[in-house]
């Protein structure tokens, strides 16, 4: 990871630019393609079209069709051939077009990609990066709004990360690509057009750590990806109501930086975890169980979870009632404080 983490501010002309999250990823891909000829992109429609979200726009024109490869329409094929290329020293960055279409590749991801380094006792590394746009609130049709992170996190051998802002998106993408391990980078598609400053000379914190985005003293909200801006907005509202909310961007699902979250929970003594995926069996359960164990004596309420309902992602006409929003987070905060009162 040296190249990506060692880079330093040169102090000369400004390395800071404001851009949408999607374009930060484009920039990261461009910079990695330029830095290492063994890095290549593969996926459906990523070439001339630049991907359905235009994240790879212009990259095939710049690097050629053998480095930005339009694949046949076959997700298992995309991941399976990426594995084969990685075995021979390449760093394929595979794009899966939408969250709901990752499942045909599930076998290659779970039984192969995740396990090959371990299976071969370390003889083979498979530094494949999988880019997976995920999450809802884009008003789309079925299979275009899902959040399958829990289904990857449970399988050891994969790293699963998700940025929430442009600067992180740039740096976490680069760190994912240079990692020797397979990394699934889950891109919060409803935030693709969220603008932010990207400093290409000052690396974001380690992609595999959480980050406290807002300090507070009464309660902590830990969330990731698309809900981070919601949590920050919730904290604003709560502030007006006299509650000081600490907001943690979890950033990395596997590894999980439970240390940072538990430290915060131990401080505020209350924790709410939020994600778009259904609560039941969701990754929030892992955070809740783990932090409860680590900070048990400090907590004054159970860790509460805010998530999607136990249903297939509903028709988008109903997604506003399905998705966690400020009100749902506030409700959980209130519920948490109710415990404090009655105890």
């Amino acid at each position: 990871m040296s190249r990506v983490t060692r880079e330093q501010d040169t102090g000369t002309e400004s390395s800071v630019q404001t851009m949408p999250l999607a374009k930060a990823i484009t920039a990261a891909l461009r910079d990695e393609l330029a830095a290492d000829e063994k890095t290549l992109l593969i996926g459906e429609d990523i070439g001339k079209l630049g991907g359905v979200f235009r994240v790879t726009d212009g990259l095939q024109a710049q690097f050629g069709e053998h480095r930005v490869i339009d694949s046949p329409l076959a997700e298992s094929g995309i991941i399976g051939t990426s594995i084969g290329m990685a075995m021979r020293g390449y760093r394929p960055v595979a794009e899966i077009q939408f969250d709901g279409f990752v499942f045909p590749a599930f076998n290659q991801i779970t039984t192969q990609l995740a396990k090959i380094h371990n299976r071969t006792d370390g003889a083979l590394t498979v530094p494949v990066t999988i880019r997976l746009p995920y999450g809802g609130h884009i008003g789309s049709i079925e299979h275009h709004s899902e959040s399958p992170e829990a289904l990857f996190a449970h399988t050891a051998g994969l790293r699963v990360i998700t940025p929430s802002n442009a600067h992180d998106a740039y740096w976490m993408t680069r760190q994912a690509i240079v990692s020797e391990d397979p990394v699934i980078i889950m891109e919060p598609k409803r935030r693709y057009w969220l603008k932010g400053e990207v400093d290409t000379a000052n690396p974001a914190p380690d992609a595999f750590r959480a980050q406290v985005l807002r300090e507070g003293s009464d309660i902590t909200i830990a969330t990731y990806g698309p809900l981070v801006p919601v949590a920050l907005a919730t904290a604003e509202v709560a502030q007006r109501e006299g509650r000081s909310v600490e907001v943690i961007d979890v950033r990395s699902i596997s590894p999980l930086d439970d240390e940072t979250i538990a430290r915060s929970a131990a401080k505020t003594r209350r924790l709410v975890v939020a994600h778009e995926a259904p609560t039941f069996g969701g990754f929030g359960a892992e955070i809740a169980a783990r932090v409860t164990e680590r900070a048990y004596d400090r907590l004054t309420a159970p860790v509460l979870r805010v998530g999607g309902f136990y249903m297939p992602y509903p028709p988008s006409g109903q997604e506003d009632r399905y998705l966690p929003d400020i009100d749902r987070m506030l409700e959980a905060i209130e519920r948490s404080f109710a415990y404090g009162r009655t105890r």
């Binding site: 001339k48 046949p72 709901g100 279409f101 045909p104 299979h143 136990y310 006409g317 109903q318 409700e331």
Partner: protein
């Protein structure tokens, strides 16, 4: 392998020993009806596109250019034959009587699927590419099993065949292979219908296969035929011929219908990024609807009054589409809760109750949730 063509772009009808006899089933009214269905779909499609532009649909998937492929094929089947479509078979869906409202639910995102498959022997659109080809194989296995169990009279069961639709892009999916393996192993009454419209979003068919897709059938030892998908008569005749064979127990078959997607992949797509105007123009010149209309006109099989009447019907359909779409509201999330399982499920019930209380809290507080 040259695609089977009966009606050439310049309007001449060729004789074909194998396929022409199948056109005999169509009298002038039947021929006109093929046109009518194509014209209706075309108008419907235009209206849907404009509804999407006006923000009334989440998405639209135009079928422009593929009307003949779809209408010819579905017209060659019986209403009892079971169809497993992709998401672009609007002409087929309308042919089977699915209403504008039912068809648009998916695209207005008010429901995942808008109609009862059993009511039309026509399944809901399938978004995960190729998954439906295995359902079609399983359905076909069940058709044969019904017959064995005597659940239908032998010839009644033998009568039903199954159509599995897929695109050139989807043909690369592993599920298509597994479907064909099952179909050939169990000799299923299943017709694969690949609409090779030259593009899978921005990816040309050559990326899926340098070799004509029709040959996929060779790998499993069943017949495949390439047909000019912009020729409604060839589309009809080839499907009709195959349907007879399949009904007679031939086992599976495959049609590669060579056609062209004139519009964008979906309303979210920008085809200028990946294909040339020349290419689109060249195919527009082979337009299936005008080709067939000219032939009907030239042979005096339909008069001006007929075309006017179809045009009026198409306008009515467009009006009805617009009315239906504007009136359509999303099903409630309560209904979504109720259909996650067919039998009661504890977590679903608890969450449904929670949401009710939660939203009631806002109502009490005068909020709008």
């Amino acid at each position: 392998m040259e695609p089977v063509q009966l009606l050439s772009p310049d309007g001449t009808l060729r004789e074909d020993e194998r396929y022409s006899p199948f056109l005999e089933a169509l009298d002038d009214a039947g021929l006109r009806d093929l046109y009518r269905h194509m014209a209706l779909e075309r108008r419907f499609d235009q209206e849907a596109t404009s509804l999407q532009r006006q923000g009334q649909l989440a998405l639209w998937v135009p079928a422009l250019g593929q009307e003949a492929a779809q209408v010819g094929t579905i017209a060659a089947l019986k209403p009892t034959d079971r169809v497993f479509p992709t998401y672009r078979e609007h002409a087929m869906a309308l042919y089977r009587g699915i209403s504008a409202e039912e068809l648009m639910a998916t695209f207005r995102a008010t429901k995942h699927a808008g109609w009862d498959p059993h009511a039309y022997n026509f399944h809901g659109y399938s978004i995960v590419l190729a998954a439906q080809t295995l359902h079609a194989a399983g359905w076909s296995m069940a058709v044969k099993q019904d017959e064995r169990l005597g659940l239908r009279a032998r010839d009644k069961a033998a009568d039903e065949i199954v159509l599995a639709c897929l695109g050139d892009g989807a043909s690369s999916q592993g599920d298509v292979h597994e479907s064909m393996v099952f179909a050939s192993s169990y000799e299923l009454p299943l017709l694969y219908f690949i609409q090779n419209n030259h593009w899978a979003i921005s990816v040309p068919t050559a990326t899926q296969s340098r070799h004509p897709l029709v040959h996929r059938a060779d790998g499993y030892g069943f017949e495949g035929v390439r047909v000019d998908g912009n020729d409604v008569l060839a589309s009809y005749a080839v499907a009709a011929e195959m349907a007879v064979q399949i009904r007679n127990g031939s086992g599976p078959k495959l049609i590669e219908s060579v056609t062209y997607r004139i519009g964008a992949h979906t309303t979210a797509d920008d085809p200028t990024k990946y294909r040339s105007d020349d290419e689109v123009q060249a195919w527009a010149a082979k337009d299936p609807v005008t080709r067939f209309r000219s032939w009907l006109e030239s042979g005096d099989r339909a008069d001006q009054a007929y075309f006017t009447q179809v045009q009026e019907e198409a306008e009515e359909l467009a009006t009805e589409l617009r009315r239906a779409v504007l009136a359509m509201e999303s099903i409630d999330i309560e209904r979504v809760f109720d259909t996650v399982y067919a039998e009661p499920h504890r977590q679903v019930e608890v969450e449904k109750a929670w949401l009710k209380d939660y939203e009631a809290g806002f109502a009490e507080a005068g909020g709008d949730k």
